[in-house]
Each structure stands twice: as C-alpha cells, then as structure tokens.
Symmetry: C3
Subunit: 469 residues, 3 copies
C-alpha cells in the first residue's frame, strides 16, 4: 500500500512470468519517449507559460473523465465544460476537483484511473488515494507545484524524457507556434502533422470557405481539381518544413476510391459548386485518401487512417457544448473492401507507409492483420482511443501478432491532449507489452533474448522507424 | 474429489490470485439473492405445491439441456418434450433421466454442467458424478426429496436466501398468482415485470385480438393511438401495484424510432387496420421502445431491451414442438445507429434507466460500453443467455469495464425458469466476478479494499439500485 | 536452452496447471496422426521420389512464409515464386534460404515460427536457431538429409505415424496418383476428398468447359440439370472408391438455397447458356451446397463448408504470380441466415454431417456454437487458416465450448500442403488443447479423468468419428 502505483503494475500474477516481465520492463522503462501522434498544444512549448489550476489542467479538458462523470448524472456545466452560447458554467476549480474526487471510485478498472494515479504519484509526488477526504490537500499540493518553474511545459518535456513529440495541425494552420518554438532556440523536438479533414471532408463545417482560404494561402486555384491537389502538395511541403513526417485522416469509414483523373475532376467540380449529394461527399473523401497516398509516395509523409467513429452522437450535447465532448462512438468498420482501391493503386509499394487504426476490434484478426501481413505499404497502428488500455492492448497483441507479426506494427501512440499523462500512457503500454512478451517466453514461444530485442523495438525503435522520425 | 463442486471452483490457478478471490468470495457468498429479471412461475409461490419428478423438474423444461442432447441425435420426443398436436412422447421420468445421465459427458465444459453439479451437491446432497451407473440412485434420491415439504417452492425460496425475485408476465396477464401470493400472507417478496411484446409486436401471434383484449381490460380505446398508449399506462400502473419496477422487451433488433405524434398515430392506424407492411411492423416496434422509455420517465419503471435473437430458427421443430425449444439463435446486432432515436429523445435524462442486453459480444467494447459510459440513461445488462457462463461473464468484464466502468453495469440476472438452479447461477456469477477482481488486484490495478467494495456491489447492491428494488 | 522446442512449449505458466497439461499431453503426444482434411500431393506417396532442396520444399511453396517476407519488402521473385508469364525468378535455393534466414526474426510470435523450429529440431535434428549466421550450415544439413531414403515421402509418412491422410482433388481429377498408390501395394492409408468448386462455381475459370468435361468423364448429360446432378453422383461414387469420406466446398460466403426442382433447373439452364448474372451465380453456388448435402444423405460423404475468404485480393499479384500467393483475406461472414435454407432442408437429420469452418471468429460464440449446439447435422470445424495458431485455437475453445460442448467439434485438421510440418501442426494443436483442458481442471470445471478422456478424443477419436475414417 502507500504507493498508488506498484512496482509490478500490470505484470502477470504468476511469479516466474512476472520476473521475466520485470526484467524486460527494467530494460525499457527509461528509454526516451517517442510520441509520433498526439494532440498537445504547440503553444505550450512556444510560450512555456505555467499550466492553469489542477482542474483546468487535469479534468475540464479530459473527455475520458467528464464522459464517465456525465454517465453517472453529473452535469457538464458543473465540471466547468464551457457552453457554446457562453451560458455560465462552474468556474471554481476546487469545486470541480471535489466533484471529481468524490466520484473517483467510478473509474475503478479503467485506464483513466491508472494514468491519474501514475500522474499523482510520479509527477506530483502524492501517495494517498484521491477521494473526498484527500481532495483539498491534493488540490493545494498540485496547485502549488503548477505555479513553479519546474512544472512549466518545457521543464516537463525534459523531465518526461521526450525525444520527439508530434502535434497535429489543420491544413490551414499557419504553424506560428511551431515557428515560435523554432525561433526560440529551445532544443526540444516538436514536429507537426498534416491533418487536412477540414479541406477534404465536404461535410466539414465551412468546407467551401476553407477551400477558398486554402487557395489564398497557397496561391493555387482551389476552384479546380488540379489546383486543389497542388494546394495540398504545397501545404504538405510547408508542414514538412516544420518537421512533419505524417498526415492524419479522421474519416467516418475506411472507404477509399481510385477514380480516373477526369472523373475525380468532375466530382470535385460538382462538390465545389455545392451540387454534391451525400454519395458524392463519401466518394470524395474516399478518393482523397488515395490521392494522399500518392502524394506520400512522392514526399515521404506517412499516411495515417483513423476511421470508424460516429462523431457527436448526441445532438443535445453537440448543440450545447460542441464537438469532442465524449460522444464519439465507435461503429462497425470494414477494411477488406474499403481499402482495396487504395491498395490496388499503391499497396505493394514498399516505400509507402500507410498506418491503419481501428475502433472495431473484430477487424484485428479477421481483416487488418491479414492485410498488414502481406501488403508492404500497410502497417497496423496500435490499440486506439477506447482500446488504449491494458485489456485493449493485450487483445491487440493477441489478435494481430500471429498473422502480422510484431514488425508490421508501429509501436505506441499516446494520441493525447493530456500532456501530464504522457509518461503514464507510455509506461502502461510498455508494461502491457512486456507482460505479453513475458507470457510468450514463459510458454516457450519466444526466447528471452528475443523478448528483450522486441521490448526495445516496441517501446522505442518501431515508432521511430515507422514514422521516419 | 468426491465433492462435485470444489471450494475453489472457477478461481484463478495462480495461488496468490486464488487466495484473493477466495477472500472476496467468502465475503459475498452468503449475501441474499436479488433476482431482478427471470422467468420462474408465480404459480409455484402462490400454491406452494410439490415439484414434479426429477426429469419433469430438471430436464424436460430446460432448453439448455434438451438442445444439446438433440444436437447429438436424441429425439425431443424421447426427452418428454410435448408435441403441439399431442402425439405421444416419453412419459416415463426415469427413462428420460437415464437418457440424460448416459450422455451427461456431453455437457463437459458447459455452464449447464456446473449448474447441474452444484444443484446435485448443494440442493440434493449428492456427491457422485451423474452417469449411467448412478442414474437410478440419483433419481430415487431426488424423487424422494421432492416429495417432502422441505422441497416445496416457498421452503426453497427461503433456503435459497432470496431477498426478492421478479417474474415476467405478459401485458394481458391478470396477475392472479401474484394476487394469490399477496392474499396468502406469505412474506416472500415476488414482484412482476411488464412484458408487452404480444401487444407491441405486430408480428406476434394474435396481435390484433390481443389489442382488443387490452382495450377490454383497461377500458381504453385501443382502436386509436392515444387510447392504445393510455392502455399501456394503465397496465404499467397495474403491474406496479404488484411490485413491478421494470418492463422487458424482446425485440428482434435494437432499432428505435422517434416519430412525431401524428406520424405515429397514422402508423398505428395502418397497422391496426391490418394494412401494415413488414417495414411498418419494424418501425412500430422501434417507435414503441421510445414510447415505453417516455412512460418510464413518468412512472419510474426500468426499461430492459433484450434484442438480437432469431427466434424458432427451425420451422420443422417449431411446427412440431412450438416456441422456446432451443432454436433461438443470436444474430449480429447494431446499437449505435439503432438506439440513437431513443437516446436523442431521452438518453441524457439521469432519472431514466434503460438496461441493454446483447447476444452479440462484439458490441461490448465497440458500442455498448462507449454508449453506457457517457449516456446517463443507459446501463449495461449482464452477460446474457448463451453468454451467462464463466467465459462469457469474463469477456463481459474484460470488454466493458475499461470504458464503462463497473458502475454502469447492473449486477447479475439469472434470467431463468429453472428455479432449482438459481443459487448455482448466482454463485457462478459471484465466483467469476471475484476471480476477475482478484486478477485486477494481483496486477495492482485495484486495491484489495476496493475489490471488496466492488464484490459486494456486483453481487448485491448494483442490482437493487439499478432495478430500484 | 539449446533446444528450439521446449518440453513445455505452450503449456500454462502456472506450475500446477502446467503439470496437469504435461500429463495430458504425455498421454496423447504419441497417438497416430489422423489428418482428415489437407492438401498434400498424392503424387508424393505414389512415386516416393526425394523432395527437392530445402528452399524448394520449405519456403517457395509456403504462403505463410512468403506473404510475411513480402509484407516487409522482399520481392516474390527473390523468393523463387514462379511468375505466370515465365519471366525469371531466383532459382538458387541457397540464396532464397539465406534471404529467409536473415529475416527469420520477422516470424517471432507467429505459428510459422513454431512449426519451423519444430521441424528443424524434430525432423532434421538441428538445435541452433535459424539466422543469417546458421543459414548455410542448416541448408547443407537439410539438403544432405533430403537426399537420403529416410526422407522420402513414404518413409516420412511412417515416421510421422500417420494413420490416415486425406488429400483433396477436383471433381475432374482422374485420381491416377491414388490409383498408383493402390497399385503399388504400399500400406499407407491415403484417401481423397471431393472438391467440386470448378464445376459448381460459375465464376470459376473455365466453368463451362469444365462442365463439358464432367459430362464426358461421366457419360451424363451435363447440359441439363438432372444430368448434371447425376454426374456429381457418379464422381462422388468414384471418389468414394478411392476412400473419400468427405466433400469440400470453398465458397465466398456461407449462403445456401433450397429452390424447387423446376426453379433450380431453370437457373441451371440460364447459367449453362452463359446468361446468368452475378446474382444467378451466387444463387447457384448456394443451391449446390444444399444439393451436395442431399447427396451426402444418400452416400454418406461428410460435407465441409469453408466460406469467407476474399481470394486474390491484389490484382497486381494475381496477374503476375497467380492464385494462392498469400492474398486471400478473410471477410465478415454470416451463418444464421445463410445456412438456414440448407438447415431447413436437412439440418435435423442425425445421419448427416455438415462441418462448418470460419475465418470470422466473431461467429464462434454468436452464431456457430449456438447452431452446432442444437442442429444434429451441424458440427464445428477447428480453428482454420489464419486462426490455426495457439491464440486462434484457444479462442476457438473459449468461444465455442460453453455452448456447443466439445462433442460438436471434430478434432484437428492440419489443412496443409506442407508435408514436413504435419507433425508440428498436430503437436501444437494437441498442446493447446491440453493446455485448455488443464485450465478447466485447475479451475475445477472438469475432473482430471474427464480431461484425459477429452484429450484423447480431441487428438484422435473425434476426427475419426466425424470424418467416418
């Protein structure tokens, strides 16, 4: 007791297997963090200002936390989640913190609990479980630390031993915070990633205006298909000049298409005139994945596909609080037919790297591992979002390794906006992978020297290789 | 050996984890049984007559048993399953019992085996495995016990330590056995549940006549939409007067709808005139789930949705033996789109409780846990029917806990007609949950004091809270 | 260390459970191999010629191996995979072997690694891990052994302790190698199986000409429905005269149909005239499964259904290298609706045996176990293809046993062309089953004497019974 996070967290119960897991983990626990895909704010690293109060840093922006509290009857207003129309919400950080602390038991068995305890202990040096009884003391202790220089973004970046971190910016972003980081002379490595959903998805708010802006920024004629593609090429080059090694695409499905150029141009015209129907919109998104893959062949950006989330499922919550409020729900996602047009076009190119993620675990063994286990261009992204958890990561390995092997996977993504949780997330992933490898060794399916090599690859090398970092 | 059920049944093999599981189980094994959803016959508690012979009690009515024997070539006639046309079947209980006993090995690895052995040992005090060799002796011993007062329904109810049990009655049922229980002055708590499929599903046999009857019983005009809804309100009130705290809906899919009132009325008229097509029937069932949810907001009944079974898959068996003969087969079931109309209407109401069950385990992690982990009105029913088994319950916890937590689940349902198996079923569930919690403790994902709290919640408190019992 | 395959390979880590698994395995490890479904070449047994060099035997024909190497950027040409147009590929066996050996680490965690190590150790007596460093020595050692009489097909057949093996031949095959085996007087038991895809699937290359040939071979009028069915009957009889006890059907889906005879005849006419559309082709395949089942009722052949593979997913690879090059990808497969017409027709016949396989593991617990657990004619084939692996076989047992039991499964199929790997594959299956049974015993869900009985059934008896061998 005492410690919130035990030395043997997540290791197998069997003593012999546990000892192997411990050895493996000891050899990788202090490796630098490579974070090739995430959503931290580059402004933090640019300005290096102190983080806000404990609730503002750890609760209000964390959809894992407020969705669970909401499911148990707590109003989002009472957690300080801002409304779109500006109607008032709780502003007292301590009150928000107390509401969370009183209900911390709700998170038993969830990864949020592990990440939060890890952060309390390893970042803030707190060793008492969070509860109504400890809420205030913990709040005060954390608030005091956040006010010190040692808890500013750059100091934490170094303390977390981050070798490189990728943020994600929209295609229209001017990357000024990345520019500011560069100008500052600070030596932390922060790169961007190209996320063009707002200029690729005709259903995105303001799509048409976004394309006008894209034309202005690039000097390309985004009123026409060829100019529109050129505009993408220019933005990709611009992003690459700020270290980008990947693009990222959050489509509703994994659908791809490979139209003849004339057809694609006609489709683009129809959509640009506002005359596209829902089928056109879908087809355009599908076509653009293949176009992005072709550009990747030229410029080397790794293509990431993140399909299968039904965004903003509750209109009531969307209307009052906007996007990203915990109401994105996974749906059944097909890959074998959906990816075929893209794979037919570029799937056997060994120089291309397309990383596919899924929220539908049934596709791991049935579709994704068989595809990634044969197409040179295809790699499997790690267990994602709701599945970025001990059971989720275990299922990922159990259902992909036998067909795709370890080397068609790409290491770990923390995929988070929650900067303080990054070490916790990477440590959990390393522990789960070490536990999995230890199980293979204990069953004589792998030699221990191989497990050591693999632990290092999974924790560090594969992410660098796959993302070309 | 000797004992059919070991002390450590279903506990993890690892000694340390097993010790934790044992401790957890010891603290909950004697808690009263709360059975919020099941199908025992209220007549038993009303009349308190002796149960029939061993085969008539334990084999003939148990579809888990006769479906397995049928799959291995035993005719249903030879197991005493009655035919619809009255053509003769086996009536000799001992002969039926022997057929079962000779083939008891077929049940190795199934939950039926565990429930049956538990019942042999703990209810009947028998310690020899059932087989051809022991068939007669076991039959005689059980038959003798069933003839005694200690084995009548009310005595067993007390012996089983049942705090409350819910039966399920159709909307047209007069609840006379519940009335008789009340009149008898017996202090066992038996409540009903409102199951209106026969007056909600236009494909149900006799739907139109059922609606006429519903009108007669309630004095409402069930020829019109408004009167039809009023009739439901009256029946729900009547069921509540016999303790009902829930309604239960066995639809083929999870589809819901939320039509404008005028549209719903028109749809109802069309169906009531017999002019509805299959799409109308589907839409009507979908609409009625939302109507039931709205009534629940008013009267507080918990809404249970049990979708996804293809009933009576074999026409040959249906024609000869009728419904519920083991030929109900699960199908792929979608929830994210299907539940949206209902959730849009009432999903963020914290005072509503909609409990969703599934026969499609792929929906646990992908759809149901993400939905229940954010919508205040939604809770997850336990592993159901074919999945009410050690592996099924383990998968349920592994695939739901990380996203929905424990507190968006509702404890255990035995869901059975098989009264003598109730203690076995609850004990198996408690053991599996304790084993799961012990695994979390052994991996330091949960403290032992938390596991004790949770074991109590899962075995007892959550069912009472979720079902408002 | 030293040994590539440990005594305790694949056994549970927990000492007590491992001891049980060891005992169970010790009792079945030396049982004869019954291989009721596979794809070895009968010519081998007929001619008993030496196998080619190590690469030609172990790498070039193994799609598990070359698909993984291809996924990591190795060209199929460099692995000696022949092109359709005869353009040159690597012919130096040693060069191919070296390319594989250098990348052997890619197979960590895959079943290929286990089978290969097992073969190195137990067939060739090699104890050093394969790598760039050991490539040449291993190559030389294996090449030398392959040149000796002890490594000819018949000698290996005996050494592998194969009691009976089934090959698979197309409906038009003359079975001359089977005839030659018979004429040779050799006492190894090699039987054929009836695989009529080329004369059942209208999308098969040369379907129409195949039907002409079928008519010539049988003397039946395959221009008409009745004659076409008769031709099947004659070929089935001919195959039975060479020991066939089963037919095998590799359809894209599990769809079945049960048309009236007149409708079926009309459909056949349309297809035979080349006037069928894709829907007709699908319906014809569906109808033919039911026809085959009806013939099975007459002649006793076991019907095997292997649905759900999207064949030759990459047109580029198909065009250059042809079929079976690792690009067959599983797809979502439905059984409950798809099998219904066949089951309605013959599903409750206890004398019929239809064995269903799946590449979609989500159907195990949801559809296949519930169906096989009640229909007397239906049995579950073992974990298949990508799932013929330790995790795949474990999931198969975990997801089918509780509902279908063990006795509605049919033992193990090696399903392989890779003759030298047959003992490895059977041993892996036996180990996984013993580990699973040991887990049940350790959790007191099964007595040890029952586990011993079951281990014997799963390793030997069930395959003989189910396939009537």
């Amino acid at each position: 007791m005492g410690a919130l996070i035990a030395e043997d967290l997540l290791f197998p119960a069997d003593a012999g297997t546990r000892a192997i897991a411990r050895d493996l983990h000891a050899a990788v626990r202090d490796l630098p963090i490579v974070s090739p895909h995430g959503h931290t704010d580059p402004r933090w690293y640019a300005l290096d200002e102190p983080f806000p109060d404990p609730a503002g840093l750890l609760i209000v922006p964390d959809h894992y936390i407020f969705r669970m509290l909401f499911s148990q009857g707590v109003r989002l207003e009472d957690l300080g989640v801002p409304t779109l129309d500006g109607s008032p919400v709780e502003t007292d950080g301590r009150a928000i913190w107390r509401r969370f602390a009183e209900r911390y038991f709700l998170f038993r068995g969830t990864p949020t609990r592990l990440w939060f305890d890890y952060t309390l202990q390893n970042l803030f040096g707190l060793h008492e479980p969070l509860s109504a009884a400890t809420a205030d003391a913990h709040y005060d202790a954390i608030a005091a630390m956040l006010a010190t220089d040692a808890f500013r973004p750059r100091a934490l970046f170094k303390r977390f031993n981050i070798e490189v971190i990728a943020t994600t910016e929209g295609a229209l972003d001017d990357l000024k915070w990345h520019e500011a980081i560069r100008q500052s002379g600070w030596d932390g490595r922060v790169v961007t990633a190209y996320r063009p959903d707002a200029v690729i998805d005709p259903d995105f708010e303001g799509f048409d205006a976004n394309l006008d802006t894209l034309g202005e920024i690039t000097g390309c004629d985004t009123g026409q298909w060829a100019g529109y593609l050129d505009a993408h090429r220019k933005r990709r080059a611009y992003f690459r000049s700020f270290g980008a090694t990947s693009s990222d695409h959050g489509h509703p499905t994994a659908e791809t298409a490979n139209l003849a150029n004339g057809e694609a141009a006609t489709l683009f015209d129809r959509i640009r005139r506002g005359a596209g129907d829902p089928g056109d919109h879908r087809l355009f998104r599908a076509q653009m994945l293949t176009e992005m893959a072709r550009m990747s062949l030229d410029d080397g950006l790794v293509l990431q596909v993140h399909p299968g989330s039904w965004r903003n499922h509750s209109p009531a919550v969307m209307q009052r609080f906007g996007r990203d409020k915990g109401f994105d729900i996974p749906t059944r996602t097909d890959y074998v037919a959906a990816l075929k047009p893209l794979l037919d076009a570029v799937g056997v190119e060994p120089s291309l790297s397309v990383i596919v993620f899924t929220l539908d675990e049934t596709s791991y063994a049935r579709e994704l591992a068989p595809l990634a286990g044969v197409y040179p261009a295809l790699k499997l992204g790690p267990a994602w979002w709701f599945h970025d958890s001990p059971e989720g990561m275990r299922r990922f390995r159990e259902m992909t390794t036998e067909t795709a092997g370890f080397y068609n996977t790409v290491g770990f993504n923390d995929d988070t906006r929650a900067f303080p949780s990054i070490p916790a997330r990477h440590d959990v992933a390393r522990r789960v992978d070490c536990a999995f490898l230890a199980g293979l060794v204990a069953q004589h399916r792998l030699r221990e020297d191989e497990a050591h090599e693999l632990a290092h690859e999974l924790a560090y090398t594969l992410a660098k290789k796959a993302y070309r970092l």
